[in-house]
Every structure is written in C-alpha cells, then in structure tokens.
Symmetry: C2
Subunit: 286 residues, 2 copies
Amino acid sequence: MSDTAPDLTRFSINQMTVKQLPLPELTAVCRELGVGNVGLWREPVQAYGVEAAAKLVRDAGLTVTTLCRGGFLTAVDADERARALADNRRAVDEAATLGTDTLVLVSGGLPPGDRDLRAARERIADALAELGPYAERHGVRLAIEPLHPMYASDRCVVSTLTQALDLAERFPAHQVGVTVDTYHIWWDDRAPEQIARAGAGGRIHTFQLADWTTPLPEGVLNGRGQIGDGAIDMREWQGYVEAAGYTGAIEVELFNEGLWARDGREVLAETAQRFAAHVDLAGTGE
Amino acid sequence: MSDTAPDLTRFSINQMTVKQLPLPELTAVCRELGVGNVGLWREPVQAYGVEAAAKLVRDAGLTVTTLCRGGFLTAVDADERARALADNRRAVDEAATLGTDTLVLVSGGLPPGDRDLRAARERIADALAELGPYAERHGVRLAIEPLHPMYASDRCVVSTLTQALDLAERFPAHQVGVTVDTYHIWWDDRAPEQIARAGAGGRIHTFQLADWTTPLPEGVLNGRGQIGDGAIDMREWQGYVEAAGYTGAIEVELFNEGLWARDGREVLAETAQRFAAHVDLAGTGE
C-alpha cells in the first residue's frame, strides 16, 4: 500500500478469500493494510475457538461484518432436520459471540432423489419460523443468500433475489433479510428491481462482491473471479444497493483456487487495491 | 427394444446426443429402433453435405424437428456482425433444405471485455429484425433458446424464458419464438407461467429435454444428464408445455462426455427407453 492509500472504510475482507491465512495472521495483515472489517467463516473460527477468535478480532479493532454460514435447511428426514436446526442455533450463538449482527444462510439443495424445488423452499420457510425468533433474541439477523442457479440442485434451492425475498418477507426484517452477492445475481435482469424491493423493506443485510470469470472449474465452486477480472460491473451493482439505501460494509468473498495458492498477504493487498479501483469509495451518492 | 416397444411418435433424437454416430448410421439406427424424428446440427450436416443429408433423412422417412443452431448475434464489431448475419441466413437456408421449420438460436455471449448484458440483448433484437423476415420467406421459424445463467457471459446473454419472450414478442410468432429446454430453465419458478405466455402466443417452437446432474464438469458444457438421472421432473415440464398447447415432438438433446464415449446405437436405444419411462407418451391430456 502506498502512502496515498485509498479509504478502505467500506471494505470488508471475507475470510474465505484468503483462507490460507490463519486467523491471527489474518488479523495482523488487516491491521497492517488498514482493513477494518472482516467476514468470518464458522469452520476456521470453530477450529480456533469461538471465544478466542472473538477476543482476537476485538483486540485487533476489527469489525465482524458477517458470519458465514448457516442454512442447509431442506432436509426431509426428521432427525436430519432437527440436527440442522440445532446447528443453526449454534451458528446464531457464534455470531453473537463474535459481535456480528448478520448470519448468512445458504439454504441447502434437494435431498438425494428429490425433484421438488417448491417443497424444498417451503421447508426453508418452516425452519426460518423457528430460527428467526431465536436469532432475534440473540441480536442476530438471518440473511438468505440466493445462490446462482447452477447450485440449485446440490447447494441452494433459492436461486434469485425474488425467491429469497418471497421467503424473507414472511418474517420481520430484523429477523430475516437477504444477502446481495454480485456473483450469484449479475445475470438476472430482475435483480435491480428486487434490490430496490429489499432496500425498501430494510432487508439488505449484507452486500458481497465477486466477479464472474470463465471457464468455470469442475464442480463450479472455486472459480469466483478477482474483482475486475470478469464480466460484472461492480459500480453498477453498488449503485443499485446504495440507491436502495444500503450504507454498510461491502464484503469481497472469493472462492478461487488460484488465489488460495498464492501468498495470503499479497492476495489481501491485491483485493483491497481492486476494491478501491472498482468501487466508488465515497458511495455512489444516488 | 422388445416386441412391446413403446410408442415413440413424439420422441425426437437430437444428433448431438449421439454425435459418435455418422449421419448414415444415425438414420439407420433410427429406422431400426422405430425413431421417426431427428434434430440435426449444422456442423456434421455441412460436413456430410446439406443436400446429401437432406436426401438421406428424407429417404429414411425421418422428420427433421429442428436445426441447431444459429445465433451468436451479440458482436459489436461491424464486420463480425455482418458475418454473423450472413451465417444465420445460411443456417435458415440449410433448415429449409433439410425440411425443418425450426432453427434454434443460441444468442451469444458478451464480447471480450464487455460488461453490458442489456446492450447485448438489444443487439440480438436488432439482428432478429433482419433475420425474422428472411426466415419467414424460407418457411423457417427462429427459436430463441434461453440458456442456463451459467452461460450468460460466454455463450448466451438470454438466460430466462422471460427474457427470450421479451425479445421474441417484438416480432410475429411465425418469425420468432422460443426453445423450451428443461436443462436451462428447470430452476426457474417463473418458467411455468412463461411457458403459458409462450403457448398463448404460439411461440413454443420446440421442446427439448435434458436432465440436471452434478457435479458439473469443467467448462460446464458437456454434463447434461441422461433423462431420469437427475433433478428434473420431466412429466412436470411436459405438463406445462402441453397445457400451453404444445403438441409437437419432444427432442432429447444431451451433451455428455460419458454418453459420447459409449456405443452410439446403445445410447440411442437407452435414450428412447428413458424417454418412454419419464414422459407421458400419450400426452398429459391437460
């Protein structure tokens, strides 16, 4: 970073983007680079210890913008469903311990052999009816993340912001809202109007960036592009969420084998630079 | 096939499903198995000779349900655009020579470095305004195929039936309609109402089947599942198109490395059996 470092006030680095960095190194590099916000993931936080992780980020002066992720709420089997609900309550507890108000939900795919997307989406609603009040009591908001339709069968039957809002709006906004992630919705010409709908209802609980690059890798999980490398106009989407009233942090969440193979500090510095180059740091002012 | 072979009147085998079969073998196997309909592809037809291919399928008593594919109409460069239009006029000529009334269009992706999906979709409309009347004069209908959103950047900026119909409806239905392919739209909860819209306007120009299986292969082109292997309820989608008035052939179009590595005759027989097992052969009667 140069002496004329950009204002990274709005920038949040999602832990998965630099998963090669152990949590203490992540916090150290954030301090070094002037990054004040992080989005955390449950597995590395659990491995480090939730209380210890909370102390670590607190001592480093970092704000935890989100915890990723709860969800996987589409099971039909009663035992499996009960386990999922219990795990999501733990996720809420962890979010509260870490001091973030937002738990991102990846809703879950179709059970094996199942072909009924509609019924799976209804099971998510049933689960939210139990989890929403629990989250509220812990000061945590659930943020349903629509995932790209290419994940509809095996990871998330909620594929569009429209579907996510149709679910979220059955509950109070301080219980259930949505995650707006450019990677998952950039292709959708209805997404801008749905962002406005989400904003009007106070339901944009987090805004995340990743770029769309091709060819997609096998399994299509770990091919999210570095900001600026792909087909998505980040300022355009920033404009939509800010016009809808969103003023919170902007998280960069990349799953990318190429980035993970590199030095984590270097990747974090590059990501901050790309953020500064492709986002209006002062806000779009719309 | 047993003596109690199912009624394959509605079944059409898309040439790409068994691309390992040279055209004369494809027609011979179709006769042997009682398959009366084929969807053809331009490249193998051109390699064989368009007139010769037309004679071959005619002599075999086969009906050509579609020709795949025209399209790729999103170029900005004037020369590239002129070449694409000329190539699409040739595709119309080939369709007419082969005796099919339907040319499937894969609209094209974003030009390199371009991030404007909306503008790309408008360029498709501009091209259709030239191609539609040309196709009509040759007795051919253009069938815009929405491709799964995972192809939005590099193959087809038309990702939903809604978008395809928004384009098609600028033109007469006998010039421009849509392709309904389960693989591309199965995740979309708005697709059923859009099929009704398409049917009401006489714009369902072809109905194609492929199943959704995961994990997706690298590049996500050649992982379309054999009917019955995946997450899509074929009878449900058949019900939608038939409720919308579609009574035409049902094409099975699979791009699948595993199927291509096998004996082509065996794959065609299996595909016909799967079709019979997963489609209501008498129609859904809705």
